[in-house]
Symmetry: C2
Subunit: 256 residues, 2 copies
């Protein structure tokens, strides 16, 4: 009898975060991680732990979250894909399941992420978009938002946009709140549907939503780009704007 | 004291049909018509009746349903708009409220309608689209579907696509099941998102969903366009394919 061989499997996962308390397993509330782990444990009868590329807040969606798990099961990858999708509810879909090397780690191997924040500028928001975009009823000053977005690009200490006391101190990266944003720009899906896209090497807890809350203040004329630059330099969360709602935010891609 | 003056108000309404039993008021279940009527009665304290341009089935959505009602209330149109939108849940939105002549009737003045049926051809359907498009997992023969769509254009007796016993016999139009389809075509939203659009002078009960069910059989190679033509000529519901699911169907526009 040969020893059971272990392998590492990488999943790409899309989800509608509306009904969930976020990616991460929690005492109270249903999480994406837990839903998938429960199915994996049922399928394999092993104590599977699923490791995600990062956490997403309650209500945040993902087009392509990446996660990995180890198992000794002989279930094929395509059976994992079809089995998980038949067990999970339609608001979580496994897009890809493939074997990866053991030195691949969904979180520590990640080189960057892309987040998109959806805005609806229609006078009245179409009901079918209400769960996936933020309705901005008043006209926004988009040139002002763009001037602020340019300031974000590059390597900065983003403490002003980090919710205090939330950084995972168990990971000593030595970089504190310093992150590099490679690209921050506005994409146009259609005349009333705009997407603010952030690509960077990593994002602090609530960072995209805090950036959006502050960018919307610039869009509403409450602050100008010079003040936005000051907020960034302040390294003080209380200097920045409010946290924008989660339902308009999508984790678009994780880069490796 | 002057007599209260009556006026007729035309509403344009968008809704996410997911949670509703359809447009029309029903004994059991929540309908769009009833939700809006209830708000109008609360606002005006009058026994308002709301007349829609037509019925939509349970689960069908609308981007721009049109309806009218009469009232003697002094509430302005813009107050009706904001008041209704603040009372209604987010899955029903009033887009426009304006005074119209008394000879305007949302149903009898309608010259035509546009319906769109959304298909998702991605290998795995994105969770955020699951409530608004039909996932077609197998590759479809779109040229075959297009050949069938061309056959639909023009004036035909669409009995084969009408659910039996459902026509409203109180309206003697003299045209039976004869309707004119001005345009039937496929639009591409993106590489995995196709829209089958039907523009015509009127549609029988379940007609678009029955057409779609049969068109999908053509797309799956079960029937060819010659057989589709025979089904149309048969004037027999049992000759056609099944009724496609409602959640992918949108009433796009009503023409006057």
């Amino acid at each position: 009898m040969t020893a059971l061989q272990s392998r590492r499997i990488r999943l790409t996962i899309a989800y509608d975060g509306t009904r969930y308390c976020g990616w991460q397993r929690q005492e109270n509330g249903r999480s994406i991680q837990q839903e998938i782990e429960t199915c994996l444990r049922t399928m394999t009868r092993e104590e599977i732990s699923l490791h995600g590329a990062g956490r997403t807040d309650a209500g945040v969606h993902a087009e392509a979250m990446v996660a990995h798990f180890d198992c000794t099961s002989r279930i094929t990858n395509s059976r994992f894909l079809s089995g998980l999708n038949s067990m999970l509810t339609g608001d979580i879909r496994i897009l890809v399941a493939k074997t990866c090397p053991f030195d691949f780690h969904a979180r520590f191997s990640a080189k960057g992420k892309c987040y998109q924040y959806h805005l609806c500028t229609a006078l009245i928001q179409p009901p079918t978009r209400r769960l996936y975009s933020l309705h901005v009823a008043t006209a926004l000053d988009f040139p002002s938002i763009c001037r602020c977005l340019i300031l974000l690009e590059g390597k900065h200490d983003f403490q002003s946009f980090e919710n205090t006391g939330t950084r995972d101190k168990t990971i000593v990266t030595g970089r504190g709140a310093v992150r590099t944003i490679h690209s921050a720009r506005i994409l146009t899906a259609d005349s009333t549907h705009l997407i603010v896209e952030f690509i960077g090497d990593g994002f602090l807890k609530n960072m995209v939503r805090n950036l959006m809350g502050t960018l919307l203040e610039a869009g509403r004329g409450k602050i100008c780009s010079e003040e936005f630059a000051e907020i960034l330099r302040a390294k003080d969360r209380s200097a920045a704007g409010p946290t924008a709602p989660p339902h308009a935010l999508f984790l678009k891609e994780v880069f490796y």
